[in-house]
Amino acid sequence: MHEPAIPVASDPQTAPAVEAAGIHKRFGSTRALRGVDLSLQHGRCLGLVGRNGAGKSTLVSILSGIYPPDAGEVRLDGQPAPSLGDIAAWRARIATVFQHSMVVPSLTVAENVFLGRQPRRGPGLVDWRRMREQTRQVMADWGFDVNADTACGNLTVEQRQVVEITRALAAGTRCLLLDEPTAALERGAARRLFNRIRQLQAQGVAILYISHHLEEVFEICTNVAVLRDGELVLTAPLAEVTKDDLVTAMVGEKGINAERPGVTAPAPGGPAGARDGHRGQGGRVLSVEGVTFASPGVFLGNVSLTIRGGERVGVTGLRGSGASTLARIVAGAVAPDAGQVRLGDRVLRPGDRAGALRAGIGYIPEDRQAEGFVPLLSAAENISMTIVDRIARGGLIGPRRREVRAAPLARRLSLVSAGLGQPVRELSGGNQQKVTVARALASDPVLIVAITPTRGVDVASKELLLSELDRITTETGASLLLASDELDDLVVCDRVVVLVRGEIFTEFTEPPFDREALIAAAEGLGAT
């Protein structure tokens, strides 16, 4: 049904900024890419989408000269790609802005822009003046506004991204790979990023835009390419495809029945799974009383909140609104400056994660790389880490016993691994997130605290994780505190609390929640 590998644009005048032909790549016995043909013209923005493990990262790495392909050819501006070791030559033609910031925090903006290729003066001395001037010049040319003398450590995430883009442009690059560029941005910053992308595009820069968010792809891209299992299954101008087409291409024909429903449009406020009757009729499970917290960039002022048995409460807000910090305080991962958290009648010791776990709070942390799992240890060991005291006999636990306890959860969350003994490091990002979720669920919590549990997870896995959270809270009667700035996550909630600058701004009590109203409230508009 889909024609594979139609050249994306066909302006015969200019050679494509990037052209990949017949790219194959294997890692051990995994065929990460199987004959990918891709081409990107100047002045276009090509959205590259696909599920976790479809080969996006591998393709990005090959296009930016990090790995060589096993077979096939990469051409940049019509010429064969530079040899792999010649990083400067690659960077002059194509540059990648990664999800995680690649600036050196202790150096100034100008130093970061010219990192490794500072203008020289005399015998190897750095020409500081020229470096600053050129940085200002490039910023001015492209309409960016970041002070060249500031240390990058003092910049916002958005500004660091601007620094990275400036670095690429200053090196003469007219082709950018943006890997999940909005993942760490709040809504306003994402909108400004889109404006920047449009402007770059208008001036002839080619952009490869990698994202899990199909809405973003529709908003910003001119063309789209879908990867599935290492093959390019669809390339088309965006005007000619619908969201349904993309999802179908990402998931594949055979998976469609299993994974399709609800995927295309997580309807605003639509329930993720079957859910009947009124929730939250049980007794009070969690009381947060007058919690106050201040640290650079985050502030919570006298926040109080109660959650009843079985109730699912969402907390949302812009980045820096304090939503995730509130959740971290409840989970015992952070101690508040003042106020207390009670579970049932028990006052929890502030900042005592182990105590909170024993009291019955399961925790899905925000940053899975940093807090979610131990990469060298097996999936089974990571999943059972919260219940070691229950499964150990005389302090001893064998691998077999861990696997027996981890297996049902792994099946439930459709964890894909080469056996539960496989180190989590070797799993794909989405499956790592499933391990993190399973770890939280393993302890049979009375309250699950989840922070952006679906970040970095593909559409189908996202749906599965949300429906499992829904099902588990329904079946076990556990309550849920879900802090997220992804509105799609909030569909499992019975009630949504919106934080603005560390204070409760408003509350939505009747699902389905109106998307527009939530967004407006998060921005601090339209009090109810």
């Binding site: 940093a370 131990v374 240890l377 005291d389 636990i397 459709s414 964890l415 080469a418």
Partner: protein, 349 residues
């Protein structure tokens, strides 16, 4: 309907898992080779030793090697534990000298450079353990609770402890250690030195503890990703402090063995001999990562044995004294390179 959808998703995942499992079978075989990465190097060394000197493969020589390396080996166990939680402790070499020094100083008569108290040797042994535990506790508290840099804390501690070791005996070496105190390092059971048996037991028990005990697993979790361990409800600080204490106690036991072997405690024992370099070398050659969370006792033991065998071959061949250090250093570098080339990265277990 949501039920069928989930069942299908589970089925799809099962199929994918089965494929992944088949792919990873060859990977598992490779990891076995890595586990045993040092074995071929050891076998080659033993063959070389046997060819060079007919005395090499005799029982008395082999048990001699065993006795020489057991004290080092016990310290390596301690350092490996500390490396596994992502720390490092330079002061183990000073504890290795100071703990037996204080004990011996309190036990032996003034004529043998004691302080004249002439404590019961068993009390002396208790003092030795107490000194080890106290040093570890101070290190642990400063590093974990005080959030000071482990390298600098233990460097300062090393110099302090070594200074005390020298100071209390004014540069003399207490000798004439009474039997109960010297037993561990000097006695044999049949043909086998007691110290070798004890060291082997410590290796095996620690290895099993690391693999099967919940605290052992917590050590890997803390070293592999401290924040993830904390989020999973592991009492990270307790584990870290506990490991510093255990490491220092093991260093004290190693020093105790050495004191018994030579029947005196030199003011230079430990720090003065610079044994910490051999300790790190053995652990790292054996695949214990300096980054934490990776390494095991099989590897650490092979690292220790390798160093011992090399030392023994050099001794038997009467290697020129002035060159011994240079040869030793070269051997450590070659062993590291070989272990890296053959083994790649050691596994977590």
């Amino acid at each position: 309907m949501s039920e069928t959808k989930d069942n299908l998703a589970v089925l799809a995942a099962d199929v994918e898992s089965a494929l992944a499992r088949r792919r990873s079978r060859s990977a598992a075989a490779i990891s076995w080779i890595r586990e045993a990465a040092l074995l071929p190097v050891l076998v080659i060394l033993i063959i070389v030793g046997a060819i060079l000197n007919p005395h090499f493969l005799t029982v008395s020589n082999l048990t001699g090697i065993g006795q020489q390396i057991s004290s080092l080996g016990v310290v390596v166990v301690g350092e490996s534990l500390i490396l596994l939680i992502g720390g490092m402790d330079l002061s183990l070499e000073a504890t290795y000298g100071l703990a037996p020094m204080i004990a011996a100083w309190l036990i032996v008569p003034a004529a043998a450079f004691g302080n004249g108290m002439m404590l019961n040797p068993y009390v002396g042994i208790a003092v030795l353990f107490a000194v080890g535990a106290a040093v570890g506790l101070v290190n642990g508290l400063l590093i974990v609770k005080g959030r000071l840099n482990g390298f600098i804390v233990t460097l300062g501690m090393t110099i302090l402890l070594a200074g005390i070791q020298d100071g209390i005996v004014k540069g003399q070496a207490p000798f004439d250690l009474p039997e109960p105190f010297a037993y561990l390092g000097s006695a044999d059971i049949g043909a086998i030195p007691v110290s070798l048996i004890v060291a082997a037991v410590i290796f095996i028990v620690t290895g099993l503890f690391l693999r099967y005990h919940r605290v052992g697993r917590a050590i890997y979790a803390v070293g592999g990703n401290r924040e993830a361990a904390r989020a999973a409800g592991i009492k990270v600080n307790k584990v870290r402090i506990g490991v510093y204490v255990a490491g220092s106690v093991l260093a004290a036991v190693g020093g105790w063995m050495e004191a018994g072997r030579v029947s005196s405690v030199a003011p230079t024992q430990g720090y003065g001999e610079g044994i910490i370099f051999a300790v790190f070398a053995a652990a790292v050659i054996g695949g214990v990562s300096l980054q934490g969370g990776r390494g095991n006792m099989v590897g650490a033991a092979s690292g220790v044995i390798l160093l011992g065998v090399v030392q023994n071959i050099l001794d038997l061949e009467n290697a020129p004294n002035y060159w011994i250090d240079a040869i030793n250093g070269a051997v450590i570098l070659v062993a590291l390179i070989l272990a890296r080339v053959i083994g790649g990265e050691a596994s977590a277990e």
